[in-house]
Symmetry: C2
Subunit: 377 residues, 2 copies
Amino acid sequence: MVIVTPEQARSSDETARSRATDEARPPATVTLADVARRAGVATSTASLVFSGRGPVAPATAEKVARAASELGYAGPDPRAAQLRTGRTRVVGVSYDGTLAGAFADPYQVALLGGFSELLDAEGYGLLLLPESQGAAGLPLSSHSMDAVLFAMCGALERPDVDALAARGLPLLGTGAPLDDRVVQLTIPDRGATAEIVEHLRGLGHTRIGHVTMPLAAGARPGLVSAAEASGADYVDTRDRARGFLDGGGTPELIAAASDLTVDAGAAAASLLLDADQPPTALVCQSDLLALGAIKAAGERGLAVPDDLSVAGFDGVETPWFSGRLTTADQRPAEKGRELGRMMAALLRGEPVASGTFDVRLRPGTTTGPAASQFVAE
Amino acid sequence: MVIVTPEQARSSDETARSRATDEARPPATVTLADVARRAGVATSTASLVFSGRGPVAPATAEKVARAASELGYAGPDPRAAQLRTGRTRVVGVSYDGTLAGAFADPYQVALLGGFSELLDAEGYGLLLLPESQGAAGLPLSSHSMDAVLFAMCGALERPDVDALAARGLPLLGTGAPLDDRVVQLTIPDRGATAEIVEHLRGLGHTRIGHVTMPLAAGARPGLVSAAEASGADYVDTRDRARGFLDGGGTPELIAAASDLTVDAGAAAASLLLDADQPPTALVCQSDLLALGAIKAAGERGLAVPDDLSVAGFDGVETPWFSGRLTTADQRPAEKGRELGRMMAALLRGEPVASGTFDVRLRPGTTTGPAASQFVAE
DNA sequence: TTGAAAGCGGTACCAG
DNA sequence: CTGGTACCGCTTTCAA
């Protein structure tokens, strides 16, 4: 078992260095100036060598490179470069809640994957900023970054927006926080949900229940009224609930999940399935919640879609699920890429318009004709 | 549809500012010096007000706060603070491959969740650094951070380690890259896998197959020899393969998956199940791969565990799966937290020893007696 | 093609 | 408790 302390790491490093150099006391930390001195050139010239920007004679470049490797120079210190240039090559990604919570949802993972794909290509790193960061006392704006994406659809307001905007950082969101300074890529949550309900009504369903995402940070899960659901803090929860009502869902059959997981979906769906007059169809605000509903149905001996139709929202990959979930497909990876494109433009200083992203109703094998109408035998 | 450009955002901001200030030409970007000047105090004093470090008279603090809000000051610029203090409050998390690939595995997600939990509490943000970063031309070390976690178990070497170490950054890994300067938290991959095989042999299995994780970046998936598997580039793949052989697995029945997904597991398992003399048990190097194997078995009409026993590795939550997977549980969230604790100590400059993390064989409902021995009827 | 010098915006000494 | 002042390490004009 090896013990390594930063001190040891540094000192062993210095040993290696002093073997290569002939100076008596090499500086604790090698700077570009040290390299330039050793190479016999000006700091500015050495800088050009590393950035590859200006014209430098091959021989000079060679001298600098040799000096650098002799001194064990790690390259220009990014902190100094950032201060000087103002650019950090970092994009912040802000979440409501914890990372574990956010990434439990394949939708978020796919979205971030698509986003990252594009920003990687431009050499940006993603700085994850869970809500707890704020709780730790540090405002978001105390991290250095070139822009921020508000990723986990969520709260309408965020106190950090002021400070971030004051810094002149481009801000991008997917519906929240609601603020003029945040460029948005939204989806028609309301219309798409209404469309799902209509699809089910077209199949003959009349008692249609709704499983919502959490209504607000720390909100109590369980049965909720139509008014509570359509007044949710979280924009997407709210809009989908409104769409559910628009489409003709049953207002008495709404249950909120505690979080975006299969188990939470099963728990919320259970409340509806165990009602006196249970629904014959369930519209869930996310695919994971829908899979939970299907699980809950299974536990009650209900066949999907014969006894119960279930629809989701998002269009995530669920390779373990043998059916094809009826869902409102928002192609999360592609949406992430689109956000990446918008962000890249913003980073280049180009004007970017808020816009909407398409969602497509994708009928699968989990919705079918209402059972009570046609007795299958 | 609202158009917002960074320029507009800034100018509207300045409008707001000039409404509050009486100076004719406020500086384009407000600095601490501006605030101090307006408050009639020294910059150093203003600095103390924001950092809350030194003793400042309440009246003075009040003056500074007012000046700041009048000028629309966003708080000390993190870039400057970083250069001066040398601390960035950012921990890099390096992955082999893409983020989408890494986060497709619930094991990685849970691990990162646990890690983040601890570092959040200390006010650190996580900077995700997919491998593609390197491809974009920027070395890892061109980002400013206080330490780096090598998260996705992977390649034995990484060119970036030299530069990162030269910067004196604490480095933490879960087995890779293999380097004295990286503190490691490893698990007994080899022993744990051997234990699983022995468990199966105890159940009467004699033809035991193995589904491995990818052998190397860009390695060809499919049937592989025992030599290839036990010489894999990726340390964990390699060690688990060795354990498989140690425990008495069948050397001819090894297939490598193309990535860490259910579908890849199903594909690799299919190759083994379709062999002339198929295995009666499958030891998979990850839980996701195991679920894929179970899927492949189902497609062939094989019942688990009656016709085929399947074991996984990791111990992830799979709420959608109705059984309980037999697995080597490495409690990913807790492992992440332990890594967080080690990292926190490293960041405090404390010495941290490399160590091992426990893995427990957790028998579930997916392994049972070998079918050929006891004909159940 | 190279060198000199002026900051980027704070922080942390140290003197008063 | 407050002010003055050296830096942190690099990038970028501007001249030579």
